[in-house]
């Protein structure tokens, strides 16, 4: 008869282990990883590692197909201390999954290392009604809505591009929106900057914007940043956000945001408009080009108005 010790030793022979720091690196690098938390649902609810899905140990063989159809998919398993998941990982290897890693030390070690822990609060009745159209979308569902509520997006510019973006993100329930703009509302803005109102002419845009967004969706925490972004504040400000949306109106800021986001590993959603034309792209560090790959030099001053 085998002992537990022997089973674990057998598993360790075929399942590599990685520590929390390495896993965090892989997640931040945007690797197409499937992270699975094999603990029981109540353990998962008390705190989990983003972006793990919860498939408890008992259901693993039955539900793994839904989480990872391709046997070459990189998978990382974790449990509370790294033992349950080690045995679970061996099962996946036996099923034919080629790239399975166990998180050494489990969730406990991750949390003790000070790495971020995600926690879901159950949705209240108002939220269930408010986001009901999201629940109808199979690609979103309640799980997706929780993810939106935990997300943090920074908007550079609360003007022509920032306005509709902020409104739709707030409506969708993105939990934290940083709104950065050093300008005040001018009547000429109101022709397109729909975040602001006539009554707010003369007020700082982030003040007027914050009020509008909170009125639209009280679930959203709006962080007003009533200054221009610059080389001294940018790295400190962007570090806490999941995504940056560049709706700024001048090239200096565009290049600054590009560089700062690349250096910080932040994805930069880049949009711009000129008269009747608009363009959009996503600048994801090391996955696609950056702004300088496309436009190594800005146009001569005066050629393109801000």
């Amino acid at each position: 008869m085998k002992t537990l010790k022997e089973m674990l030793a057998e598993a360790r022979q075929v399942v590599p282990e990685q520590g929390p720091a390495e896993l965090k690196k892989r997640i931040d690098a945007g690797e197409p990883l499937v992270v699975i938390d094999v603990r029981d649902p109540d353990e998962y609810r008390d705190g989990f590692i983003e972006p793990a899905t919860n498939i408890s140990r008992g259901f693993l063989e039955f539900r793994i197909g839904g989480a990872a159809a391709d046997p070459t998919t990189p998978i990382v398993l974790y449990c509370q201390s790294g033992l349950r998941s080690m045995l679970a990982a061996k099962v996946l290897k036996d099923l034919g999954y080629e790239n399975v890693t166990n998180l050494q030390g489990g969730f406990q070690k991750w949390a003790q290392s000070g790495l971020p822990v995600a926690k879901d609060r159950p949705m209240n009745a108002d939220q269930i009604q408010r986001y009901s159209r999201h629940f109808l979308l199979p690609q979103v569902g309640e799980k997706g809505q929780r993810k939106l509520l935990r997300s943090k997006v920074l908007l550079i510019g609360a003007g022509g591009l920032g306005s509709p973006t902020a409104l739709y993100l707030a409506a969708a329930g993105v939990g934290t929106l940083g709104l950065m703009d050093g300008d005040v509302v001018d009547v000429s803005n109101l022709q397109r900057q729909i975040l602001h109102t006539t009554a707010n002419v003369g007020r700082p845009k982030v003040e007027s914007g914050t009020e509008m967004l909170r009125a639209l969706n009280p679930d959203v925490t709006v962080i007003p940043l009533p200054t221009r972004i610059d080389v001294d504040n940018v790295m400190d400000i962007i570090k806490d956000y999941d995504l940056v949306i560049d709706g700024s109106d001048n090239f200096d800021t565009r290049y600054l945001m590009n560089d700062a986001c690349y250096l910080a590993g932040k994805t930069n959603v880049h949009g711009s408009i000129f008269q009747f034309e608009g363009m959009a792209t996503v600048l994801a560090p090391n996955q696609g080009p950056c702004y300088r790959c496309l436009y190594p030099t800005p146009p001569p001053p005066g050629l393109v108005p801000s």
Binding site: Q139, K147, D249, A260, F276, E277, C293, P296
Partner: protein, 79 residues
């Protein structure tokens, strides 16, 4: 992007012509000579942004013949 569903515009530029009511897609590639994200980056911090407009954006030893890839619309800053 936040939900991890669908296909984000990484490596793609989506352009919209409101008068012609037309969308166009341009493929974008990383530049191995890019001073920020290329194989031998010369920009490794933000100090270049302290020294003024032209210095921040023009990197003279870039070796690029033209600013925009063929077919891409001229750069716009309006936002």
């Amino acid at each position: 992007m936040l939900l991890g569903i669908g296909e984000p515009l990484i490596g793609r530029l989506l352009t919209y012509d409101a008068l012609g009511m037309r969308f166009r897609e341009v493929k974008l590639r990383r530049d191995p000579k890019c001073p920020l994200c290329g194989e031998h980056p010369s920009i490794t911090d933000l100090s270049i942004h302290r020294t003024g407009d032209a210095a921040a954006c023009e990197v003279s030893d870039n070796g690029h013949p033209a600013p925009a890839p063929a077919g891409a619309p001229a750069t716009k800053a309006g936002g």
